[in-house]
């Protein structure tokens, strides 16, 4: 069996982040999770940190603690996200700022800090989470989709800047999927989204895990700067 990887997942207390944490724990990896709140995930190879990825001081404190435990990081999964379905005219500026800070600034802050540890890995990997709301230009998701557009551009440029260190950076854009972020979307709206896909079924967390697994494979060394959408959208 190969050495366990050191994997850091943001937004790990629930939804896709928690599923990814459980998946990599089952694979034998050492997993570090963070979220603004606590986690009830208990495992001898899991450690959870309370951190706000959109806050520089909080991210600095997280990495200070992490550096005390590990000298190398193999994988960073920037999964933490915020969304609010609202037309532009009705979107409070405070909420818009929060979405941008968590989704875009958070991805930057985590990448900025994690690069120091990732470059010591033989196969450093960064996986960001985008959304099909970007290519679909969904009404009511302007700020959320714009923040994720930023994440996609950030992904591509990160791939260029960190490529010389052997670090890849890719993004996955889940299609319609039932998570906390989409709990405000009605079944009818979800079905309308699914009807726009080439493969017309709702996504499961396992579909996301499958793509992340692909990005993390050692054989994926030349796969970088890519955004993969589920369901045939794009």
């Amino acid at each position: 069996m190969s050495d366990p990887r050191h994997i850091l997942i943001t937004g790990a207390s629930r939804g896709i982040g928690r599923a990814l944490a459980c998946h990599y724990l089952a694979a034998g990896d050492l997993v570090f999770g963070c979220s603004r709140g606590a986690s009830d995930l208990v495992h001898d190879r899991y450690a959870h940190f309370s951190a706000d990825v959109g806050d520089e001081d909080s991210v600095d404190a997280l990495f200070k603690e992490l550096r005390g435990r590990i000298g190398t990081l193999d994988v960073l999964i920037n999964n933490a996200g915020a969304a609010s379905m609202n037309p532009i005219v009705l979107m409070p500026a405070k909420k818009a700022r929060e979405i941008i800070e968590i989704n875009l600034l958070g991805t930057f802050l985590m990448t900025h800090a994690a690069t120091r540890l990732l470059r010591r890995s033989r196969a450093g990997r960064i996986v960001n989470v985008s959304t099909v709301a970007v290519p679909l230009r969904l009404e009511g998701e302007a700020v959320y989709a714009a923040s994720k557009s930023g994440v996609e551009t950030f992904t591509r440029i990160t791939a260029q800047e960190l490529g010389p260190f052997g670090i890849t950076c890719n993004a996955i854009g889940p299609s319609a999927i039932k998570t906390r972020l989409t709990q405000g979307v009605s079944d009818k709206q979800m079905q309308a989204l699914i009807d726009r896909q080439a493969i017309r079924r709702g996504a499961e967390v396992s579909d996301v895990v499958n793509v992340v697994d692909f990005f993390l494979r050692p054989e994926s060394q030349l796969v970088t700067g890519q955004v993969i959408y589920l369901g045939g959208i794009g």
């Binding site: 600095d60 120091r116 010389p164 260190f165």
Partner: protein, 98 residues
């Protein structure tokens, strides 16, 4: 830590960086050597590699130093333009600590 000690660590990091650089684009390891600009062989990615090596060198001695600055890429104002400027910058970071 005084500026002489900081300078020694910076120059150690420059030697580390040179190990991964081709013979024709080695950094000049000296107390006044250029780091970034017309007189240096480093491009922006090379500068990043050096600064990460510098951070590592300080960390291995028990000091957390984070080198990021809004004027990093400025040819005239960058705190990374030469060894004296970088030493002075790191000294200011360490002095500002509570």
């Amino acid at each position: 830590m005084d500026q002489n000690q900081i300078r020694d660590i910076v120059m150690d990091a420059m030697r580390t960086t040179n190990l991964a650089r081709p013979a024709e684009s080695q950094l000049e390891v000296s107390s006044t050597g250029p780091i970034f600009g017309a007189a240096s062989p480093l491009d922006s990615l090379g500068l990043v590699a050096l600064l990460l090596d510098v951070e590592d060198a300080f960390q291995s001695r028990g000091f957390d130093v984070a080198l990021s600055d809004a004027s990093a890429m400025s040819r005239t104002r960058s705190p990374f333009r030469d060894v004296p400027a970088l030493v002075s910058y790191i000294d200011s970071l360490m002095s500002a600590r509570p």
